[in-house]
Symmetry: C2
């Protein structure tokens, strides 16, 4: 099996949600695994000087329309949540609290957190909401509650953010395969091409 694909995303990023819904099947088709890295884009934006798309007036209108059409033709349920954006700290920490011991559960919980926010409008910035969703997927609520706020998990999220910035990540979703950086849920065609040919020729 070739090297895994790194998948960077922010739980508050709608395009990241589309990425999370599609990346595992895509990667499996090329016999690749995926390493998920929730990050906080706020920290990245501070570094890169950018702002969330919706804060640009013309881009915001485009994005609202674009998300609806992506939802339709990618067949992924989507409803623009309110409030938006939210702080993804609790959701990200829950992921890192689970992933070393129970990697499959961590991904399942991450997918359900995204769906809870972008399909059902639940506010996943609230630790209680995150814990309830994790419990429904089979996590031990009390252990997770303790681990989510441990110094080790808090530091892990900071380290992942720093590592992402160090690798040039500036958006969500952001994929890195064999060193090739690919940004955007609209670039699956490019990622597929790379995984197929391992070359741009």
């Amino acid at each position: 099996m070739s090297d895994p694909i790194d998948f960077y995303f922010d739980f508050s990023s709608p395009y990241g949600y589309f990425g999370a819904e599609k990346i595992e099947d895509l990667a499996a088709g090329f016999d690749r695994q995926v390493i998920w890295h929730p990050i906080l884009l706020g920290a990245v934006f501070k570094e890169s000087g950018a702002k969330p798309l919706l804060e640009y007036p013309l881009k915001g209108d485009y994005m609202r329309h674009d998300l609806q059409r992506l939802s339709t033709f990618m067949d992924v349920p989507f409803k623009m949540p309110d409030p938006f954006p939210i702080a993804a700290v609790a959701a990200s920490r829950a992921f890192y609290a689970l992933t070393d011991q129970q990697p499959d559960l961590a991904k399942k919980v991450a997918r359900e957190l995204y769906r809870a926010y972008f399909a059902h409008g639940l506010d996943i910035s609230k630790p209680d909401v995150v814990l309830d969703i994790a419990l429904a997927q089979g996590a031990d609520r009390q252990t997770l509650e303790t681990n989510m706020t441990s110094d080790a998990v808090k530091q892990r999220l900071r380290d992942e953010n720093a590592a992402a910035i160090g690798r040039g990540v500036f958006g969500s979703p952001f994929f890195i395969a064999d060193g090739e950086p690919i940004w955007g849920a609209d670039r699956f065609w490019m990622l597929k091409r790379w995984l197929k040919n391992k070359s741009w020729k």
Copy 2:
């Protein structure tokens, strides 16, 4: 024949150059014509609050790499020009000075202006460079020189910019087909899908 596709671009935009190299063949495949609209993104950025990609440190690195790989697999010669970016006023005015009387020549000149800048490193912000390129494509140099700086052509460019902003255009290339806005040289797959199905279902 269905309605034409509107193609907005800035002569200083490398992604716009890739768009210009590919859009006519793509549209012809669906029996569509293309209306070209050079605009000045500087004016648009003022409205939208955005900045050129290269001014964001992480995005700039990504973009430099991305342009090279797009060049390779789209088979379009590309060399990052210096100076970059440049003012696209002269090139845009040359286009509008030609397009009403000689629409095919105007597109030919536009494509050659883009190639001159992004494949051969010529500084197309200089009116003389623009005029030489237009002459080589068959334009009357003296007539064009006069018309380029006429009040009518200057106003035409201002009107096209205002109209683009009014339609939500905020980047280059930016396509509008049947009211569907599609931004980016990496979204040809999406434009094709629309032209084929005229629906996102």
